[in-house]
Symmetry: C2
Subunit: 450 residues, 2 copies
C-alpha cells in the first residue's frame, strides 16, 4: 500500500513535470514564431532612441510602453510618478593631448553627473594612475593642478565580464572625488570596455567630498595611445572641454502593467527592466532588451491563454542609470500599500543568449529555484543559483521579495554598454526571443509554486 | 584503516582535480590575455579572404597556416597532399521575377557544384513547394518545363539551430536532382538562414540521377517576396542567369602540425578545423575561427610549458565544404600508417561563446568525458555528452577514435553561414578566445587520462 502510494505520488509529480515541460516548450515556440519583442525594440531604438531621465526621449518611451501594454490588453496599465535627476551633456566634448607640440585628438564623453569644464576648456598636465592607492601615494605634491588619468583596464581573465566591471568601475564612480581631495582639477577615466576600440563609454559618477571637478570617459584605444605617449613624455598636457550640466529634477514615471491573479491576486510576481538609457546611444542592450523582454513575457502568457494564480506585473523602471529613483519609489510604494511582492525578476544584463538566473534569497528559496534547472536547461539555462538580482528590484528585498536577475551570456555586453554603438543592430532576434521565453517560463514556474 | 585509505584516495583525487582546475585556469588566462587567434583570424579573413578548394585563396591559406605553425615552433609541421574538386562561380548571378510586366530583382547565389544556366539565362514559370512529397504529388504534369522554388524555412522552434538546418538542408543538397526527375529545368532554394535578410547563402548540392539542372539559393527576404507574389499570380515567370562551372580536380593540401608526446608519442590527440571556405565571404565563422582556435590550442599549451604525454596534432582540413576530400584522405592515411588516433576534436560550428562538446563514442567513453563537466562548467561548458563530432574528423571513427565536436552557442551561426556577411567583423574576440581555451582544456584533460 505504501509502495502504491509512493508510486502514485511519483507519477503525479512526473506528470506535473511533464505538463510543465510541455507548457514551457509552448512558451518558447510562441516567442520564437510570433515574438514581438524584436520589432518593439526596433521602435524603441529607432523611433525614440536615447532616453536619459528627464529627457523628451524618456517621456516618449513612457508614452510608448504604456500604449504598447494597453494594446496587449493587460488587465491594468498605469503610471507611477517619480522625480528624477536631469543631467544634460550639452555640446559634444572635445579633447586632445599635446605631445611635442602636436595635438592628438582623443575620444571622450563626459561622465553622467559631471560638472562642465571652464567654458573654454581645461589644459593641464595629466598623470596616470591605476587605482586609489597609487593616487594616495602620489599625494598632493604630484597631483595638485593636474588632470588624473585612471587607466586600470577591466580584468580580461574574469569569465563573467560583470565581475571585471565590478573590479574597475570604482575609477568611474568615485575617481573624481578621490582625485579632487589631492587637488586634481579634472579626471579622465578609461572606458569600462574589454575591447580596444574608439567608443567612449559614459556612466554615472558621484561627488562625495573634495571639490566638484569635471570627469570624462576616454575610449580604450585613445587611453592606450595616451598612456604610451605619457611613457615617453610624462610632462605632456591634456585638454578637454565639456559643457554638461545638472538641471532641476524633473517629473517622470515608472510604467506598470499587470495580469490579475485568479487565486492569489494579492501576491505579485514582478518582471521588468529599466526604460531610461544613457544619452549617447539607442540603449538597445541597456536596457531596451530587458524592457521589451519583460512586456513580451506577459504577452506570451496571455497569448497562450494562461490564467495566472498570482498577479503578474511588468514594470518599466525609470532612472536606473543615474539615481535609481524609479526602483526606490516602486519599493516605497509597495511598502506603503502593503503589497506582497513574492518574486521580482529583472533583465538588465543585455539581450544575449540565455545562461541562467541569479537569485538573492535564503537558502531554501535558492534551492527551490535551482530545482527548475531540469526543466530549463534544454533552453540553455544551466546557471541557476545564488547571484545578483538587478538594481531596480534590489530595494524590494526589504519587503522579503526573492530577487532574481536574468543572466544572459556576458561576453559581448561591455562592447556596447553606455556607448554609442549600443544600437538595435547589435541585438540578435533569436537571442532576444530566447531571453523573453526564459523569463516567461520562470514566471510560469514561480506562479505554480505553492 | 579502510577509512584512512578511502580518505587518502579521496585526497589524492581531490588534489588531482585541484591541479587540473589550476591548469585550466592558466589556459584560459593565457588565451584571454595573450591570445593570438583573433589577429591570426584577421589575417586569414582580410589578407587572404575566400578560399574555396582549388582556388588561389585556398593555396595562400595553406602557405599561411603552415608558416604560422612553424613560427610557433611546433615539433613537426607538414603538408598532406589531396586532390580536390574545383568549382568556380564565374560572373555574379542575376535574377528577377516578372509580375504584371514588372521586373522584381531578387538576390541569388549559385549553389556549389551547380551547372550554369544557358548563356543568356533561363526564363520560365516557377512553382513553389515545401518538400519532396509536395513535388512528387504535383508530378510531371505540373513541374515539367518549370523552375522549382523550394521554400520550406528552417524551423525557428528548434533551440539548437543545427537541428533546424538538418531539417531543411535536403532542399539544397538534393532538390535539383529530385526536381529534374519531374522535368524541372532549374531550382531556386530558400537560403538556410533563420533571419529575414537579403544575403543568399550558398552551400553544396549533389546531382544523383535526373538531368543536371542549375540550382541557386535565394535570400530569405527575396524568397518571402517571391512567395507573396506567387500567391497573387501563380503564372509569374522567373529569370536567372549563372555561369558557374566545374573545372578539373586540383591538387591541394591538409596542413598538419604537432607537438610530440613524451610518454605515449604513438597515441595522437587531434584538434582541427577546415581551411577551405565558400567563395562568397571571408569564411570567418565557417571555419576560420575553428582553424585559428585549433592552432591557438597548441600555442597555449606550448606557451604554458606543457609537455604532453601523447602527441598533440593540429590539422587544417581542406575541402570540407564540397567534397570532404581532406578529411577522407587524412583518415585513409592514418589507416595506412597504422596511426593510433585516440581522440579527435573539431571546431566547425562558429567562433561563438562556448556551450560544450558533443561526443561520438561508446557509453563508457562518453561517460568519461562527461565527468569533465565539473572542471569545465565554470567556463560555460555545461553541455557535454553524446552528440555530433565534425565532418572532417568523422572518417576517423572507423579507426576507433573518439570523435568530439566543440559546441559553441548556435543562435547566430546561420546568420552568417555560407553568406557574404561571414566576415571577421562578425566574430567577437572574447568568444573566440574562450573557444580556444575550451579546446586546449579538453586536450589537456584527455592527455591526462590513463
Amino acid at each position: 500500500m505504501k509502495k502504491l502510494l509512493l508510486f502514485l505520488l511519483f507519477s503525479v509529480s512526473a506528470l506535473g513535470q511533464n505538463l510543465d515541460s510541455i507548457f514551457i516548450k509552448n512558451i518558447y515556440n510562441e516567442t520564437l514564431v510570433n515574438g514581438q519583442s524584436y520589432e518593439n525594440l526596433r521602435f524603441l531604438c529607432k523611433n525614440i532612441g536615447p532616453r536619459l531621465s528627464g529627457s523628451f526621449g524618456a517621456q516618449k518611451a513612457v508614452d510608448y510602453t504604456k500604449k504598447l501594454m494597453e494594446s496587449y490588453g493587460f488587465d491594468k496599465v498605469f503610471l507611477q510618478e517619480v522625480m528624477v535627476p536631469n543631467w544634460v551633456r550639452g555640446a559634444k566634448e572635445e579633447a586632445y593631448f599635446v605631445d611635442n607640440g602636436k595635438k592628438n585628438k582623443v575620444a571622450i564623453a563626459a561622465l553622467g553627473g559631471s560638472v562642465a569644464t571652464p567654458k573654454n576648456g581645461l589644459l593641464a598636465e595629466i598623470i596616470e594612475v591605476r587605482n586609489f592607492k597609487e593616487l594616495k601615494e602620489l599625494g598632493v605634491n604630484e597631483i595638485k593642478g593636474k588632470v588624473v588619468f585612471y587607466n586600470r583596464p577591466m580584468d580580461p581573465t574574469k569569465i563573467n565580464t560583470f565581475e571585471a566591471y565590478g573590479g574597475a568601475v570604482d575609477q568611474r564612480g568615485g575617481g573624481a572625488s578621490q582625485a579632487a581631495q589631492f587637488g586634481a582639477i579634472g579626471v579622465i577615466v578609461r572606458s569600462m570596455n574589454l575591447r580596444e576600440d574608439d567608443f567612449p563609454h559614459t556612466g554615472s559618477m558621484r561627488y562625495s567630498g573634495g571639490g566638484m571637478i569635471p570627469g570624462a570617459a576616454i575610449s580604450t584605444k585613445s587611453a592606450n595611445r595616451l598612456s604610451a605617449s605619457l611613457k615617453n613624455n610624462p610632462k605632456l598636457k591634456f585638454f578637454f572641454k565639456q559643457n554638461c550640466e545638472t538641471l532641476a529634477d524633473a517629473p517622470s514615471h515608472n510604467v506598470i502593467g499587470e495580469i490579475l491573479g485568479s487565486e492569489k491576486p494579492d501576491e505579485i510576481i514582478g518582471v521588468g527592466g529599466h526604460l531610461d538609457s544613457w544619452d549617447l546611444a539607442e540603449g538597445a542592450h541597456d536596457d531596451g532588451t530587458g524592457c521589451m523582454q519583460s512586456i513580451e513575457a506577459l504577452r506570451i502568457l496571455k497569448a497562450l491563454g494562461y490564467k495566472p494564480k498570482r498577479t503578474i506585473r511588468v514594470v518599466m523602471f525609470m532612472n536606473e542609470e543615474n539615481g535609481l529613483k524609479g526602483g526606490t519609489a516602486y519599493a516605497d510604494e509597495a511598502v506603503k500599500k502593503n503589497e506582497k511582492h513574492v518574486y521580482a525578476i529583472e533583465s538588465d544584463s543585455g539581450g544575449f543568449t540565455p545562461r541562467g538566473f541569479g537569485i538573492v534569497g535564503n537558502e531554501e528559496q535558492i534551492n527551490q529555484l535551482t530545482s527548475f534547472r531540469n526543466l530549463l536547461s534544454p533552453y540553455g539555462l544551466h546557471e541557476i543559483g545564488k547571484g545578483s538580482g538587478g538594481a531596480d528590484i534590489g530595494p524590494l528585498a526589504k519587503t522579503g521579495t526573492v530577487i532574481i536577475g536574468f543572466k544572459p551570456d556576458s561576453q559581448r555586453y561591455f562592447d556596447y554598454h553606455h556607448a554609442s554603438n549600443d544600437t538595435f543592430e547589435s541585438v540578435n532576434k533569436r537571442e532576444l526571443d530566447l531571453g523573453a521565453g526564459s523569463m516567461a517560463s520562470l514566471v510560469y514556474l514561480l506562479d505554480n509554486l505553492n
